[in-house]
Each structure stands twice: as structure tokens, then as C-alpha cells.
């Protein structure tokens, strides 16, 4: 595992309603802007009995102290010593050893188990985490092997967590009042914390559905469109970096929850395995918590020739399509078929794929400052078999 270097700095993100919002955050580029969320760290465990030791150096380019917490990781140390809460004159100033402005501090931890985790600031966290000082860690099992079938898993071969594609969705809330206060040096009363935006991977809908590395979102490089083919096992990794809980509901199917907080939902009592995984259509994604789930979609077998739908598709003039001027619909009941759409509607349908919404059911959270659509909403796009490029839903084995 190569060492990781993060810089804490500031920057700007943009929202679909045209606002530019000042953030604090992390980058892995010296001199770069803060990114939301911070760079994804992917670690592959060493084969046992070798421990997996990770070094994360933090250089602080902000003018306040910043630290890093690694919830769920073991043996978190600074200069060989266990990280400790920091006090000044008897008052708690940080939940962990911190870097003062201009300083660099190196944390070491042991990645003891596979799963999805967060890293986040432990210094004034009620302010620094919502400002953007958070990111995710994926730990892969030591036997992980991409495109290998039984060894492409979330928790190791034989754990029932095989997948073909994986997507990480990091959630947070955003109160522009806090951001403006820290940008301008104004006052902010945390008792008044009131989110007006909600983000998945740092973006608000409909930007969530744009591809990775969209040119106009340089500091929000990750989309959250879940793209898959029928029958594939998709690993959805939810991580809530916010302070509130968000009930996420994917259309199209239930998910099976296989891991919580980076722990496999399984008990081993002697030689017996008790599986504790379960299926849900809405998962309450709790503050600071992570949820690893398997999602599949197989459809109902409809086919224009062998099994047509049992209803008549109305004339497109007698239904509403794309009331906001755009649609994801393929114009057809059938996967892989594209039919006529109203000429004044912009189609975002590529290859006749189906789209299923994935969104918060606390519906005020699917707005941008109160206006629908926005916030915690994206789509699951199911492409016809054999048409979806391999690179979608392929995260690297390890971050470089």
C-alpha cells in the first residue's frame, strides 16, 4: 500500500441552482483545491498473517488546526503513539492529534477488516466536517481479484458478497450560512444549523447524474449514476458523512445489506455460519455510518416478440413526458428499444436503458434550497445486456 498524502485546504463547489459555495476539504494534489468529498482511499489488505499498515500524512494549508479520525480502523497512531484527544488548558480542542496551520502530521493505522469507512476531521468536527473535511476509505479483502467471479467480493471469498460493479455514494448536508460565515469571517451559531442542500459525492441533483470529472465541476469530480446490466450484482456502498439520517430508497428492487460500518453481517459460531444479511427497500443511512449492499435487477421478462406487455402504450401526445423539458425514458416499454419522444423534450437516454430513481424519501432532501428536483437523488440505469462499457462501476483495486 503506497503512502497517502492529503492536504487540507479550501476551495469552491457549485450547485445546480447556480451558486458557488466556499468549502474546506482535502486534496491529494499539492497546491490543489479542496475536493468534495476528499480523495477516495482504496486499500487492499495484505495476505494474513501480515498486517495492513497504512500511513496517511496530512499537510494543513488552512488557518485553523485540522486532524484526521479513522473510525473503524485499528491501532491509529501518530509517531508510534496511540492518537489521543487533545486538550488546552483543560479544554477539549480536538478528538485526535492535529496539524497546526502549515504543519504536516502523519497518522498510521491498521486496516483490520474489509469494508467501507469514512475519514473525517476530529477538530471542531461540528464545523469542519460539514464544511467538507471528510472522505471515504474502501478496504478490500486480501484475496480480492477483479473480474474473477468468486474473488471479486466486498468481504472475501465465500462471504456471499461477490459483485460485478461497485458504486460509492457519500452523503452529506450543507448549510450555506455556515460556509458563508467561514468564508467572510462572519458569525455562525451552530444551533441554527439548517441544511438547504444535500449532496451525494459532493454534488446535488441533477448534477449527481452527470459523469465523473464533468468539466464545470472540477472540485466535485464524482457522479453517482449507478450503471449496470440486468442480472449483475452491484455493490452499493453508502457512507453518511453528514450529521443527520437519510432514508435512501432505490426503485427497481430491494437491496441486500451485507455489511454495516465495514463489518460483515455474519456470525460464526464454531464451524456454523449464521447469515445476518437482510433485504430492504429503504435504508435509513445514519450519521457516520456505512452500508454495503448488493443490488440486482433482472426485470420481468417482457419482450416485444415473445412476451409483449399486457397493456396498450398510449399515444405520446396523451401522456406527459419530460415535464421539465428532459427525460431519461427510452420511449418504449422494452429494454434496449428506443422510440419516438416529443420533439421538444431533450432525451438523456443512450441505448434504450431503463432508469430507476434512487433518492431520499425524506423528500425535502430532494430539493436544492427548497426547489425540486435536487439534493439526494440520482438514477440507477439498467443497460441492455452487452451494451454497457466495462469501465462503469469499476473502482481501482488500490488507490495510487
Amino acid at each position: 500500500m503506497p503512502d497517502v498524502h492529503l492536504w487540507a485546504t479550501d476551495g469552491y463547489i457549485s450547485t445546480p441552482d447556480g451558486k458557488s459555495i466556499y468549502i474546506w476539504g482535502f486534496t491529494d494534489q499539492e497546491g490543489g483545491s479542496a475536493r468534495l468529498p476528499g480523495p477516495l482511499i482504496i486499500i487492499k489488505q495484505n495476505a494474513p498473517p501480515r498486517k495492513t499498515t497504512v500511513n496517511v500524512s496530512l499537510t494543513n494549508n488552512l488557518d485553523v488546526p485540522v486532524s484526521l479520525l479513522f473510525p473503524g480502523q485499528e491501532e491509529v497512531r501518530v509517531h508510534g503513539r496511540r492518537v489521543q484527544p487533545q486538550y488546552e488548558n483543560g479544554a477539549l480542542v480536538s478528538l485526535a492529534n492535529f496539524a497546526r496551520p502549515g504543519e504536516t502530521i502523519t497518522y498510521t493505522f491498521t486496516a483490520a477488516g474489509p469494508g467501507t469507512f469514512l475519514y473525517e476531521s476530529g477538530t471542531n468536527p461540528h464545523q469542519q466536517v460539514p464544511m467538507g473535511l471528510y472522505g471515504s476509505i474502501i478496504v478490500r479483502p486480501w484475496d480480492y481479484e477483479p473480474d474473477s467471479g468468486e474473488f471479486q467480493t466486498a468481504y472475501g471469498a465465500g462471504t456471499g458478497t461477490e459483485f460485478q460493479r461497485e458504486y460509492l455514494l457519500v452523503l452529506s448536508e450543507l448549510d450555506p450560512g455556515l460556509h458563508q460565515a467561514l468564508e467572510t469571517g462572519g458569525n455562525y451559531d451552530i444551533r441554527g444549523f439548517k441544511p438547504r442542500y444535500w449532496t451525494i459525492n459532493g454534488r446535488c441533483a441533477n448534477d449527481t447524474m452527470l459523469p465523473d470529472h464533468a468539466a464545470h465541476l472540477p472540485n466535485q469530480p464524482h457522479g453517482s449514476m449507478v450503471m449496470m446490466e440486468p442480472g449483475e450484482r452491484v455493490l452499493l456502498r453508502y457512507a453518511c458523512a453528514g450529521s443527520a439520517n437519510h432514508p435512501l430508497h432505490p426503485h427497481g428492487n430491494h437491496t441486500r445489506l451485507v455489511g454495516l460500518d465495514g463489518r460483515l453481517l455474519q456470525n460464526r459460531i464454531g464451524p456454523t455460519i449464521h447469515d445476518l444479511s437482510y433485504k430492504r427497500f429503504t435504508v435509513l443511512v445514519g450519521a457516520g455510518q456505512t452500508y454495503d449492499q448488493i443490488y440486482t435487477w433482472t426485470g420481468l421478462g417482457f419482450d416485444p416478440v415473445s412476451r409483449p406487455i399486457p397493456t396498450t402504450l398510449p399515444n405520446i401526445r396523451n401522456v406527459v413526458i419530460g415535464h421539465t423539458g428532459m427525460t431519461f425514458w427510452n420511449g418504449s416499454p422494452y429494454l434496449g428499444e428506443k422510440r419516438e419522444l416529443p420533439p421538444d423534450v431533450v432525451s438523456f437516454n443512450e441505448k434504450g436503458e431503463y432508469h430507476f430513481m434512487l433518492h431520499s424519501h425524506a423528500e425535502p432532501e430532494i430539493t436544492n434550497w427548497g426547489a425540486f428536483p435536487g439534493g439526494l437523488m440520482t438514477m440507477i440505469a439498467v443497460y441492455p445486456e452487452g451494451t454497457l462499457d466495462e469501465h462503469h462501476g469499476r473502482l481501482p483495486v488500490e488507490s495510487t
Binding site: 427497481g252 435487477w297 399486457p310 406527459v320 423528500e363 425535502p364 430532494i366 425540486f372
Partner: protein
């Protein structure tokens, strides 16, 4: 072929026990109503929406007709039906306007469902869901197992014979909140700021206590025709089908009997290898968009006690047991337990 059901989308008014009335959008059941008579249902939306009760293996053709909103004649919003939780749905029948079609005023659309999994689900409109859900286009959806037979105790089950989900009586516990300021804004053609959502009423089956325990279904509650009063004979198993289509989490507590959770989100709690993960709870803690099936056994009177016994069922988020700021109100109801044989068998869900 198949079973035809019909829902109309329109608007209406609901009343809370403080005497205030609130503008809603919603659905009403127009199954079997001839086309030419549909206009007579304008303005008669019900809260909660009339339940959709389906059965595994049957085919359903559910027609949605948008019949307009007489209080907001200017409104040209279309509507849809989203069957929330239907596994492996296709986009066309999923009711998401951005991903298929929506139904404009004066038009109809037919949704086709052939349910494969029993359980408690929900349905709602998905056009501008924050507005149309809050305005009241929400209702429960129940799928009975293929072998369901209410005349035979082994086959009167939530999830099928042999699944340990038998019950004697069943009740919807349909939860949502109502922000009267936002309802007034929608009535008067103003755009709500949804980040200011602040409910003033908390409802079970569309009613606030004490209307929850009123058994009448007409008069001032004619558009809220679902009592939430639970009645059972001592020793009977009572299935409560909790659905949350509000925007807040709720914590419904029953005093005097424990819940056995036999279903969550329309799924029995089963591990990958069929492990039985059902469990006991005193409080059903339920998030927006979730459903819980919970069974309790109506307790026997102890020596010296007389029937009926009364067990309170209320929201442990105590501030929600209010009606427009006064208490008691909101998400309170009660279970009344009668002597064995005291009540005749229940013919319909929620029949007290």
C-alpha cells in the same frame, strides 16, 4: 383477464380535531365507476388513499385517471402511481415522470402489476414527489400470499402458510405528517420552500387523535374514512401494517404487549440461508419510505381486571402527540381488548 382497479387523482379537504381544514391532493377509488360519472369524484380525494389490496399470482390492471383539482383549476400537474417496493419493476409501470410517463388532467394510464412477493408496501404519486406526497397522494399497498384464505386460521397469514405469520385481525397503521402552512401555500398558488418544512399535525390513517379512535367514516371525516382504533379479543394475534409516507422518522409504542416484527419493507427478516431473524420490539421505529409488519397478542385480563382492556399506542417522539400545538392529539390511538369471543371475526382490514 386480470383484475381491474381504478383510482382517480384529484384534490379535497381534510379536517383535524382542532376544527381546521386543510387542502390536499389525493386519490379516490373509482373502480367500476363509468367514465361519464368520474367528474362526480372531483374534489373527493381521500387521506389516506384507498388501500390497494393485491394477491400474489393475480394480474392487476390499475387505471389512474387524472380528473382535475376543482380548488386549483389552474393546476396542470400530472400524476402517477408509484408502487413503492415492487421488485424488478420495469420503468413504464414504475410511475416516475422523469423515467417514463405521467398522466395529465383528463387522461388515463393503466399500470400492470403481477405481484410475486407478499408483504406491506405503499403507493404514491411520484410527480414532484416532495409536493404530491406531502399533499396527500399516499396510501398503503398490501400483497397477500398466493395461499391466503381468511376462512382457515393456518392460511390467514401475512407471508404464507408455514411462515409463522398467522393473525386473527389486521390494521393499517399508516403514518404521515401535515405542514398546514405548506398546504395553505399550495392552496393559494404559492411556491413552498421545502427546507422550511415544519409539520403541525401527525396522522395515523389520515387522522389525528381523538379522530383516530372515532369509528365513524362519514360526516366531517368522510374524506378520512379510516379509523385507527384497534380492537381484538384476548388471546388473538393482531397484525399491524405500519407504513411511513411522512418525511420524519416515527417511533410507535404499544403499552402492555410486545410486537414481534415479522416483516420489514415487505420482506420477512430472513438471512441468506433462510435464518429466521424476526425479533421482538416495544417500539416500531420507522423511517420515511419503510414498512413494518408487527404482530402482538392481545393480553388476557388479570384477576380483578375487567374487559375491555385499553392499551395505548402512541408516538414516543412525544411532541408528535399533539394537534396544532395542543395535546393530547396527533399519533395516538388505542387497542381495546375484549373477552374471548366478544368480537365477531374481522371481515375487512381495520374494521374495528
Amino acid at each position: 383477464m386480470g383484475i381491474e382497479l381504478h383510482r382517480a387523482a384529484t384534490d379535497g379537504w381534510v379536517e383535524t380535531p382542532d376544527g381546521r381544514i386543510h387542502y390536499i391532493f389525493g386519490f379516490t377509488d373509482v373502480t367500476g365507476v363509468p367514465e361519464k360519472n368520474l367528474a362526480g369524484y372531483r374534489g373527493k380525494a381521500e387521506l389516506m388513499a384507498p388501500p390497494l389490496v393485491l394477491q400474489v399470482g393475480e394480474e392487476y390492471f390499475v387505471t389512474l385517471t387524472s380528473i382535475g383539482t376543482p380548488t386549483r383549476p389552474d393546476l396542470d400537474d400530472p400524476h402517477t402511481i408509484h408502487y413503492h417496493g415492487f421488485p424488478n419493476q420495469i420503468a413504464l409501470y414504475d410511475g416516475v415522470p422523469e423515467a417514463s410517463v405521467a398522466v395529465p388532467v383528463g387522461r388515463s394510464f393503466v399500470y400492470y402489476y403481477k405481484p410475486l412477493d407478499p408483504g406491506t408496501y405503499m403507493y404514491h404519486c411520484h410527480h414532484e414527489p416532495v409536493e404530491h406526497i406531502q399533499m396527500g397522494m399516499v396510501g398503503p399497498l398490501v400483497v397477500r400470499p398466493a395461499d391466503y384464505n381468511p376462512a382457515h386460521p393456518d392460511y390467514k397469514t401475512a407471508y404464507g402458510h408455514g411462515t409463522g405469520t398467522e393473525y386473527d385481525r389486521e390494521y393499517y397503521m399508516f403514518l404521515n405528517e401535515l405542514d398546514c402552512v405548506i398546504h395553505h401555500q399550495v392552496e393559494t398558488v404559492q411556491e413552498p420552500d421545502w427546507t422550511e418544512y415544519r409539520p403541525t399535525y401527525w396522522l395515523i390513517n389520515g387522522r389525528s387523535y381523538p379522530d383516530t379512535v372515532a369509528i365513524d367514516t362519514g360526516g366531517r371525516l368522510r374524506l378520512q374514512p379510516w379509523p385507527a382504533l384497534i380492537r381484538a379479543n384476548a388471546g388473538e394475534k393482531v397484525l399491524l401494517r405500519f407504513v411511513n409516507l411522512g418525511f420524519e422518522q416515527h417511533a410507535l409504542m404499544l403499552l402492555g404487549a410486545a410486537f414481534r416484527v415479522i416483516g420489514i419493507d415487505g420482506m420477512r427478516p430472513l438471512g441468506l440461508n433462510g435464518e429466521d431473524l424476526s425479533f421482538y420490539k416495544n417500539i416500531i421505529f420507522i423511517a420515511p419510505g419503510q414498512s413494518y409488519d408487527a404482530v402482538f397478542t392481545a393480553p388476557q385480563a388479570r384477576p380483578g381486571e375487567s374487559y375491555p382492556l385499553t392499551l395505548p399506542l402512541y408516538n414516543r417522539n412525544l411532541t408528535k402527540n399533539t394537534t396544532g400545538g395542543t395535546e393530547p392529539g396527533g399519533m395516538i390511538t388505542e387497542v381495546q381488548v375484549f373477552a374471548p369471543g366478544g368480537l365477531p371475526p374481522q371481515a375487512e382490514p381495520n374494521q374495528p
